[in-house]
């Protein structure tokens, strides 16, 4: 086996696989200007991502520093819009609702997904079939889920039919300030839990069987095996699922817009919906842009946190 040339040695891929040194390199134009060719291949995607993802974020940041008055003048106000936002009771309420929603729905969904993943990876009759029934709803678009559940939650709908079957009193669901947010969590979990469960099932299936066999021989109970083998070994997918779920739940919009319009009494006024009403119902685009910036920052912080966590683990 020949030793790699110095140039191949600098190539990170050469470190992964020892390969024979390439013969004298052909001096075709393509080999001498790899950057130009790569850029040509990359250009359409780069333009798309810069214009359609990064530019709007930059525009939001820029616009959030100005205020447009009714007379048509645009004035630089620095952080004025942000200060106004944090003093605004509607925004404070939206922030509070979003925090409560985030703290409740994410642990609930991830814990449910994890327990179901454990349940459906055990050897039992029909496990694969029942598992696929939980996965089916992931195909339902959030807006469609909201429309279906709007009928289920009606006073004479399916939900109250089931309550009556179990001898429970009928509930108002979406029209009650106490229940509306929870009702939205249910319809989101219906389409979400199966999706996150798939990641965790993949993680659990990667755990070697022999670990459990050894633990069983040592007399470890099922519960102990769950906490000492399964849980630590799916930490990585679990961390990913928690962060990805948190980000997607920060962006919940369709159910709120379709079912409650943020009400009753602002109890479901999540951040995304608040941005939407501020921009289009109230017509205050500059302050809405400030809110967009806040939302993007929250998301980036959560994702950065994940990278931190996963890196220190290795």
């Amino acid at each position: 086996m020949t030793t790699p040339t110095t140039r191949a040695g600098a190539d990170p891929r050469a470190r992964r696989a020892v390969r024979p040194a390439p013969p004298a390199r052909p001096t075709r134009r393509g080999r001498r200007h790899p950057a130009l060719i790569a850029l040509a291949f990359l250009a359409p995607a780069l333009v798309a991502l810069l214009v359609l993802r990064l530019a709007p974020a930059a525009v939001a940041l820029w616009d959030s520093l100005f205020r447009t008055s009714l007379l048509g003048g645009t004035q630089f106000v620095a952080l004025g819009n942000y200060l106004e936002l944090f003093g605004n009771p509607d925004f404070q309420n939206a922030l509070l609702v979003t925090v409560v929603f985030t703290i409740l729905i994410n642990p609930l969904q991830v814990a449910t997904a994890f327990l179901l993943a454990v349940l459906y990876t055990r050897k039992a009759a029909g496990s694969k079939i029942w598992r696929s029934l939980v996965i089916l709803p992931i195909a339902v678009p959030p807006a469609v889920s909201a429309v279906i559940w709007s009928v289920i939650y009606r006073p004479d709908g399916l939900a109250n039919g089931f309550l009556e079957l179990f001898g429970l009193p009928a509930q108002p669901f979406l029209t009650s300030p106490q229940q509306a947010l929870a009702s939205i969590m249910v319809l989101l979990s219906w389409i979400g839990v199966g999706y996150w469960m798939m990641f965790l099932i993949a993680g659990i299936n990667d755990i070697p069987r022999s670990y459990y066999e050894a633990a069983s021989l040592d007399g470890a109970s099922w519960w102990r095996q769950l906490w000492t083998i399964t849980f630590p070994l799916v930490r990585r997918p679990l961390a990913f699922v928690l962060v990805a779920d948190t980000v997607s739940n920060l962006l919940v919009f369709a159910p709120v817009q379709i079912l409650t319009k943020g009400g009753p009494e602002g109890s479901t006024n999540l951040l995304m919906y608040d941005i939407f009403t501020r921009a289009y119902t109230l017509g205050d685009l500059n302050t809405a842009q400030a809110e967009v910036v806040i939302l993007v920052l929250i998301t980036l912080v959560i994702v950065a946190l994940q990278f931190r966590l996963l890196r220190t683990e290795d």
Binding site: A35, F41, L42, L46, R53, F162, E164, G194
Partner: protein, 293 residues
């Protein structure tokens, strides 16, 4: 001491062994109950789409077998759908999603190739631009972007609806992961045979990456099919409205034909479901690649 412990341990041990023997059955029953609970809303939607709209609420108080079954299924609601704007809206969704898959795959696959097959200075920087672009959630920046699109007169055009779905950082990431695993010897051999960069891409990379391409295609498709915020901001006139937006408009109306509403819901669910089930293997593969790597 051993003697005093023994009697108390024995029943515990027996209890555990009984539990273990019941285990698979208990697991199966619990799994079935939960699975069926997840199925109920979907099942009810399908049954309601197969009976006249005025029967939607008839069998709910109290619940009975007819709540979940109908002896006289009819496709009338689906035929009625053809005459409504909702049918048109579903076709719009289909058109937007399919164009996004075809054009988006071309854009994302070439980008992934540019990132994985060449070594050049600044590569890391370009890759971080792509990572950053998918860390910023699209829905969050939809409002500033809609503002830009309004200035460019792209409102109520298919172009405006399709464009944001084309460059998908996640799909590029997935394809790049796959492309990096293509053996270099193969590429080297192809180059010696006289293939240029484009030839290597078309003849070597693409044919070897069909699973990843399908996975990325699914991502692009579902992004558009599930979109709600963007189409609500961008295309709401009769000719450009998409399925989910038209459906939610219908839901807000005073007199709703629930049969048609459920039929439209079923189609909006069935199309992605059929595609996911058809490409199940690739879907799960793409899910685990984006999640775990």
């Amino acid at each position: 001491m051993t003697a005093s412990l023994a009697p108390s341990q024995a029943p515990a041990g027996r209890r555990r062994s009984t539990r273990r023997r019941l285990g698979p059955v208990g697991t199966s029953v619990l799994g079935a109950v939960i699975g069926l609970a997840f199925l109920i809303p979907l099942w009810w939607t399908v049954v309601n789409s197969l009976r006249p709209g005025d029967e939607t609420f008839r069998y709910l108080n109290p619940l009975e077998w007819r709540t979940f079954f109908t002896l006289t299924p009819t496709l009338d609601n689906y035929f009625a759908l053809l005459d409504t704007d909702l049918g048109r809206a579903i076709l719009n969704s289909l058109f937007i999603s399919l164009v996004t898959v075809v054009v988006g795959l071309a854009i994302c696959a070439t980008a992934a190739y540019g990132l994985s097959a060449f070594k050049f200075r600044g590569q890391g920087l370009l890759f971080s631009v792509i990572i950053l672009s998918f860390l910023i959630p699209f829905d969050a920046i939809a409002i500033p972007l809609a503002d830009m699109f309004r200035d460019w007169n792209l409102q109520n055009t298919f172009f405006g609806l399709i464009l944001p779905g084309l460059g998908n950082g996640m799909a590029i990431f997935l394809l790049r992961t796959f492309f990096l695993a293509i053996p270099e010897e193969l590429v080297e051999a192809a180059r010696l045979d006289g293939l240029g960069p484009w030839g290597v891409f078309r003849r070597i990379y693409l044919p070897l990456s069909v699973p990843a391409l399908i996975g990325a295609g699914l991502m692009l498709f579902l992004f558009q099919w599930q979109a709600y915020v963007w189409p609500l901001l961008m295309g709401t006139d009769r000719d450009h409205v998409v399925g989910p937006v038209a459906l939610s408009n219908l839901q807000g109306q005073f007199a709703v034909d629930y049969g048609v509403l459920f039929a439209a819901s079923v189609i909006l669910i069935l199309i992605p479901l059929a595609i996911i089930i058809g490409f199940q293997r690739y879907f799960i593969q793409s899910v685990s690649t984006t999640g775990l790597k």
